[in-house]
Symmetry: C2
Subunit: 291 residues, 2 copies
């Protein structure tokens, strides 16, 4: 069994981006990071993005509207960033407060700056195999983990557990694409699937994104399968100081005995997301400069 | 075995639309039908759309640019239709000549008038389960055939053969949606799938859209499965006056012996496409009037 080390792969990508950005003379790429309110997890995520951007040499512009901002005011704020020529990418941290229609806010980001890839146009571009699009950070991270672990999906059966817009659907469309590394046969299962363990056992590559701790047990896995665990779940654990431990969607200790390659949680898909956001920002910079 | 009669179901939908449109006082829905050049198949398709629109009471506006039109001129022509308030839907007949970038032309249709559903935004809306979107006519027709044949995909395994943007990918996303009639478990196979017959045999609902005559044989079908045949292939046949016969992607005579329900070719999915185009046009009319 080989561990797929997301920390190491993310570090490599960040180093590559740093080298690339260092060759840019003149204006450097810039990402606008918008965080509504003071949710502690959001504060920490945005800080991590700001820090990684700085490490690479990407400028970041932090915008902190109050939690009371109206939908229209937030839409107007995004329109300002759309029209600001010095901004290449726009990220709005989720979750947003209840008065905000997230779908419309994401759709309102100019598609050429939508580096988080959650706008409707960029989701459509995945289905169209359109390489100008931005793939959202978790599915992009999964594909990068597979590529850098020499997993070619061609002729393989990829089973995705979970049909979310953030992970399951885009990663299924990516695995289906007619491009090197992809060309997989893809099944999407979910909470309503009647014979999920049997279907999972057919997987050459199993992507678990259902949000249930240790849902994928050893009996659901074909020996030699590649396992990508997208879940990050809190499980009560009195032996831990904070009262919980983090668990993925896969029973790692048992499944790792038979998998050929597997991502750990934490340290698998998680660290990839910020790296892919930065990669998208550099791509947006180049595409905007070329057009 | 029950035959799924696409001609009858399309006739029913057209009659329902006619009744609906007859209640509209004032301006009636209007579709712009754009056909580039004089390709005989395109001439016949556009004529059929015009005739069906007239039958329902939808106004149509036929626009016939020459085969030599440039990409920029066609884009400008579409922009005129986008800006014409009396036009609710815009259809551009495929195929277009080589100098035209079809992807960008479809993307250039205003999403609220994209009744053929081939623009990037409307494809993205399918993934988002966004009911304001327009679903392209073939996948929409397949879902309507299933719904009107009392096939509920919930808990069922749907296997789609073919991953095209026109059929395979959108119908897979539709079958996955969290809405009544959908909620299927979905597998997409294609020419690069290594064990396609085995996967097909797991299907409760099998959708064949691979473009190969009689590709799906009896041994690839689970007894009792529902079969949707999207293929329309010409097969040489000297006994026919025109020298060929039309064949679907399914070996109808053998597969119909074990299927619970099956579409014929012709007379299955084919007649549904024009009906769904008209349904989308009436929907566009209502959405544009409401906004």
């Amino acid at each position: 069994m080989k561990l797929i080390d997301g920390n190491q792969i993310a570090t490599d990508i960040i180093a590559e981006l740093k080298a690339e950005v260092s060759t840019i003379s003149g204006r450097k790429p810039c990402i606008a990071l918008i965080r509504v309110g003071e949710d502690p997890a959001s504060v920490s995520y945005v800080r991590k993005k700001e820090k990684t951007a700085a490490e690479i040499g990407i400028k970041s512009q932090i915008i902190l509207p109050p939690i009371t901002i109206s939908h229209e005011e937030l839409a107007a704020l995004i329109e300002e960033q759309n029209n600001d020529d010095t901004v290449d990418g726009i990220l709005i941290q989720s979750p947003m407060p209840k008065q905000i229609n997230e779908l419309l806010i994401f759709r309102g980001i100019s598609p050429d700056k939508d580096v988080d890839g959650l706008g409707t146009m960029n989701i459509g571009k995945i289905a169209q195999d359109d390489e100008t699009g931005f793939i959202s950070c978790t599915p992009a991270g999964i594909m990068a983990l597979l590529a850098r672990s020499d997993v070619d999906l061609k002729g393989k059966h990829v089973v995705v557990i979970g049909r979310s817009l953030l992970v399951g659907k885009p990663v299924a469309l990516l695995a289906l694409q007619k491009k090197a590394g992809a060309n997989g046969t893809v099944t999407v299962c979910h909470s309503g699937t009647s014979n999920l363990p049997e279907i999972a056992r057919h997987a050459d590559v199993l992507i678990a994104a259902i949000g249930r701790p240790e849902f994928v047990t050893k009996d659901m896995v074909k020996p030699g399968a590649v396992i990508i665990d997208v879940g990050i779940n809190r499980v009560d654990d009195d032996t831990k100081k904070r009262g919980y431990r983090l668990a993925g969607d896969v029973d790692f200790s048992a499944v790792s005995e038979i998998a050929s390659q597997i991502t750990p949680v934490p340290g698998g898909v998680g660290p990839m997301t910020v790296a892919m956001l930065m990669k998208n920002t550099v791509k947006a910079y180049h595409q905007r400069n070329a057009s």
